[in-house]
């Protein structure tokens, strides 16, 4: 008797095969390789199983933890800055009576740039000799020195944050604006009649309404920033002297420059745990915020 697959499975088979080939297999392979001393230069090492040694290595590696901490620092500063700027932008655009559509489109502009381009753009702007930023500061007479934006460790991290914030504030702005547009106006009016100043109206009525939207943006962006790679790679490549090394630039360097694929994969899996924790955290907050406003979505 010939084996006959049920129609649904049969029809889905092409998709399943593609998904398995491009996602499941590499995932399994990389997970497996994190338990081997696999080096790109010595393919046969893929077959040596060393248990958790890579993970122990990673977890006891000071550089890893520094990069880990720096990633969280970047995440915290960038997300907060984006949150405030995005909120401000969204409120302004929401107030606009004319050309709101145009403003909304303009707001999305930074999102249309590939992160690599953003990296190059800011690398040029923050260049200490020919960059726009120094040029502007000097022309305005604010300083007569060439500030070493990308050469000083702290300034370099700051520059990267500026680039991140520039490219992604619109994620917050768009989502919060969606919240503002979806929000019913009556409670706001009730608050005004109830004696609220504009600030109190925002604090007690508007903010609880848009909080879920802000948390959605937070979730998206925390995943984004936790795997920040391209902008940093272009602007500083983790330098100077590793002062802007983030998790994924470290992973990339370990995997390709040092060719230690096994260790790099172990690092990557540890980092993913970080992302999962953030997602869980923000989703909890989101659920709570939604329940608060009795959202029906």
């Amino acid at each position: 008797m010939k084996l006959r697959l049920p129609a649904p499975i049969l029809l889905l088979l092409p998709a399943i095969i593609v998904l398995v080939a491009v996602i499941v297999l590499p995932l399994l392979l990389s997970f497996y390789s994190s338990f081997t001393p696999f080096r790109l230069t010595r393919p046969e090492t893929l077959w040596t199983f060393i248990g958790l040694r890579n993970y122990i290595n990673v977890l006891s590696n000071w550089d890893f933890w520094v990069a880990f901490g720096r990633t969280i620092l970047l995440l915290t500063i960038a997300l907060n800055a984006e949150m405030f700027l995005g909120l401000g932008l969204a409120m302004l655009v929401n107030k606009a009576t004319h050309g709101q559509r145009l403003l909304r489109t303009l707001m999305m502009f930074p999102m249309m740039f590939s992160p690599v381009l953003v990296g190059f753009q800011f690398k040029f702007m923050f260049n200490d000799n020919i960059g726009l930023v120094n040029n502007a500061l000097q022309s305005l007479g604010l300083t007569d020195q060439a500030i070493p934006w990308l050469i000083n460790g702290n300034l370099a991290l700051f520059s990267i944050i500026v680039a991140e914030v520039w490219s992604s504030t619109s994620v917050f702005a768009i989502l919060i604006l969606a919240g503002l547009l979806a929000m019913p106006q009556e409670p706001v009016e009730a608050a005004r009649v109830d004696g609220c100043t504009p600030w109190q109206t925002f604090r007690y009525v508007t903010w609880p309404f848009i909080m879920p939207f802000a948390f959605i943006a937070m979730t998206i962006r925390s995943l984004d920033v936790a795997r920040a790679y391209d902008i940093v790679k272009i602007m500083t490549d983790g330098g100077p002297a590793g002062r802007t090394e983030l998790l994924w630039t470290l992973v990339g360097r370990t995997a390709y420059s040092d060719a230690r694929m096994g260790v790099a994969n172990a690092m990557a899996y540890v980092s993913i745990v970080l992302s999962i924790l953030f997602t869980v955290y923000f989703f909890r907050k989101l659920a709570a915020a939604r329940q608060q406003i009795g959202a029906e979505w």
Binding site: V193, Q200, P208
Partner: protein
């Protein structure tokens, strides 16, 4: 002292004018109802008083002070919205106490005032719930409670009972009336339910297309409607209105049917004048089944065919054919009638109204 004065108040949205310079003086502690058909500008007027809409032209005074440019919070008003407008993220208790919290009153006082309002509105068991866990009627009461708790000088109500079922509506109507005698605030109450307007208010303002048609006490607007529109709007079932031409001592209708010209209008009309004749259902009844309340009556007898009847228990609405239309009459102590049957009708012409067909204004003078 919380008088509210509207002086030539105008509202424009862009180039469209929706409220056309209305004048109104609301006395201190008065209960004024704004009524009118949908879209006539009641809510807009109320929102201008509340400060939620800019005033395009004219002046608004509260307590003798021009408040055109004051924000709502500086006007000492509270408002109940057509759509409740509760804060969804706050419990009933927090909703009701919110304005006091903003005003930084001590917690003890807030609790007391919220409890007191919850008592009046029977909201005690619901205080810890959120609006999403309440029925429509309960939400409406919370909205009312939120207004009461503030103890403002002026209450603004925008159709606060429109979402309640008939029983609850009657009950809340009584509550509002009691509330008014208790709080001694000025109340401006928007409704399109004329029963509410008649039963609750000291004076009624009838609006139409952004104009005020008539202002008067309930009894006054019912007995002496100033325009044909008011005549048709106030009273349920509505007044029978039909166009006629004045002839020598009689009114001739389009189909040729005619009625004697009511005595009170003899001096006020000229032969050939086009008028609108109006008679309330109470003043046209199957002979022997009516009750004219007026001191003087001027009964005209007529045989008319019954088209349909609507029994209401203690009375029956009888539609009779006159001038090829159905005129509604109120039959007390009803007896069964068959459709098509010709019955003797009594028309009390001393209670009849005449309006100019041209301007719609009353010819009573």
């Amino acid at each position: 002292m919380a008088t509210v004065s509207l002086k030539k108040l105008v509202k424009r949205y862009g180039t469209v004018e929706v409220v056309h310079g209305i004048d109104l003086d609301v006395r201190d502690r008065e209960f004024v109802a704004l009524v009118g058909p949908s879209g006539c500008g009641k809510s807009t007027t109320l929102r201008m008083i509340a400060g939620l809409e800019d005033i395009s032209d004219g002046a608004l005074e509260i307590g003798g002070k021009v408040v055109n440019d004051l924000p709502p919070r500086a006007r000492n008003i509270s408002m109940v919205f057509q759509s409740y407008a509760l804060y969804p993220h706050m419990t009933v208790r927090e909703n009701m106490g919110f304005s006091l919290k903003i005003a930084k009153r001590p917690q003890k006082e807030i609790d007391e005032r919220v409890e007191a309002a919850a008592d009046i509105l029977e909201l005690k068991p619901l205080l810890e719930r959120r609006p999403s866990q309440l029925s429509g009627g309960q939400r409406q009461r919370v909205a009312m409670g939120r207004a009461i708790v503030r103890q403002p000088e002026v209450f603004l109500f925008d159709e606060p009972l429109s979402n309640l079922d008939a029983k609850l509506r009657t009950q809340m109507r009584t509550e509002i009336k009691k509330l008014h005698s208790k709080v001694q605030s000025t109340i401006i109450y928007v409704t399109h339910d004329q029963v509410e307007a008649m039963t609750l208010s000291d004076r009624i303002v009838i609006m139409r297309d952004g104009h005020i048609e008539q202002v008067g006490m309930p009894d006054e607007v019912f007995r002496f409607p100033a325009t044909r529109f008011v005549a048709g709007f106030i009273g349920s079932p509505p007044m029978n209105l039909d166009e006629a031409v004045v002839d020598d001592g009689k009114l001739v209708f389009a189909s040729g049917d005619s009625l004697p010209l009511p005595a009170q209008f003899h001096e006020r009309v000229t032969v050939g004048q086009k008028v609108v004749f109006g008679l309330r259902p109470d003043d046209i009844y199957p002979t022997g089944h009516g009750l004219s309340s007026a001191d003087t009556t001027d009964i005209h007898q007529l045989d008319l065919p019954v088209s349909i009847t609507e029994p209401l228990g203690n009375e029956t609405l009888v539609f009779v054919g006159f001038n090829k239309r159905d005129w509604v009459s109120r039959m007390l102590n009803p007896k069964p009638l068959a459709a098509g049957e010709k019955i003797a009708m009594s028309l009390d012409l001393s209670q009849a109204h005449l309006f100019s067909a041209e301007t719609g204004r009353t010819l009573r003078g």
